[in-house]
């Protein structure tokens, strides 16, 4: 696996967030992508990272209570009048 050796898996897993934010320099990004293309373990790791992020986006968020919302709306009307 000569094409993988200059970016070991153990180093690649630390770069995933920078990769997803497009913040790796061009050379490192190329090495990252070449590595992923040849290494199923790292390809799976990247995929699981993406799935984790996607699942986080599907977590529900809480709602303000009706009482809280009506307090805020009343404050707006007081402020606006």
């Amino acid at each position: 696996m000569p094409e993988l050796d200059d970016l070991p898996c153990q180093e690649l897993v630390e770069l995933v967030t920078a990769y997803l934010d497009d913040e790796l320099d061009a050379e490192t990004q190329t090495r990252f992508e070449q590595h992923i293309a040849h290494c199923s373990g790292c390809a799976n790791y990247l995929q699981q990272f993406r799935q984790t992020i996607s699942l986080l986006g599907s977590l529900g968020v809480e709602r303000l209570s009706v009482h809280g919302l009506s307090n805020i709306r009343r404050a707006f009307r007081d402020w606006a009048s």
Partner: protein, 227 residues
């Protein structure tokens, strides 16, 4: 999809006391504000008060808003400051320094035991058969069995998120639950781009690890891969 096509128009409408503009931001943002506030304070009721106080401060400050960030980022900054003050009162505070990464945040994303050692011809690569394997199913499939699984996974993930150190949880919540950009989060929290990334990466890596223990095993049967 709304009539306030730009931030400037929205700000102008708010300054003109336009109630429909206020209703738009209130209903669009309040739920994510509540979740963020909950990261700083000790109860749901406190979080709700933080959100209310934030809106009051927004109304009082909108005439002085200078447009140096987006309106939303500015509102969230007010929320963070309000929540921090509240957290101090409750002795559950996030002082500025604790949003700085500490040693634990620099821990390895994956257990070093999963990689080959220095004396191996390929040091730092996954051990044979030791790399991650695809998860059994994803939340995107439609069958009813899978959607039960997806519900379980979300529950586990929610609990895992709550168990992260607070500084990681706040950053992961803003980036991945709410979908804010890296730049917005740096502005809201006053952290550097590098520190934002360290906290985000460590939090995500821990969550992936926890999910892997569940999804690589036998879901619903108390399974999980041997550690």
């Amino acid at each position: 999809m709304h009539i306030w096509a730009t931030d400037a128009l929205l700000v102008d409408a708010l300054r003109a006391r336009d109630e429909s503009a206020f209703e738009h931001v209130l209903t669009t943002w309040s739920r994510s504000m509540l979740r963020l506030a909950r990261s700083f304070v000790s109860s749901d009721a406190s979080a709700e008060e933080v959100v209310q106080d934030t809106w009051l401060a927004v109304l009082q400050g909108i005439d002085r808003f200078e447009g140096r960030s987006t309106l939303r980022t500015w509102v969230y900054r007010i929320l963070v400051n309000t929540a921090k003050k509240r957290g101090v009162l409750e002795s559950r505070t996030v002082p500025w320094t604790s949003l700085q990464p500490v040693d634990d945040d620099l821990a390895r994303s994956v257990d070093p035991a999963d990689f080959r050692g220095r004396d191996d011809p390929h040091p730092g690569h996954w051990k044979p058969g030791g790399g991650p394997v695809p998860w059994q199913s994803s939340a995107s499939t439609a069958s009813s069995e899978v959607s039960v699984l997806a519900g379980e996974v979300r529950m586990i993930l929610g609990a895992a998120l709550a168990s992260l150190p607070q500084r990681q949880r706040i950053v992961v919540t803003l980036r991945d639950v709410h979908g804010h950009s890296a730049g917005e989060v740096c502005q809201m929290l006053d952290v550097s781009a590098a520190n934002q990334r360290v906290l985000l990466h460590r939090g995500r890596a821990r969550l992936r690890e926890l999910l892997d223990g569940y999804l690589a095993g036998e879901p619903g049967r108390g399974g999980g891969r041997d550690a």
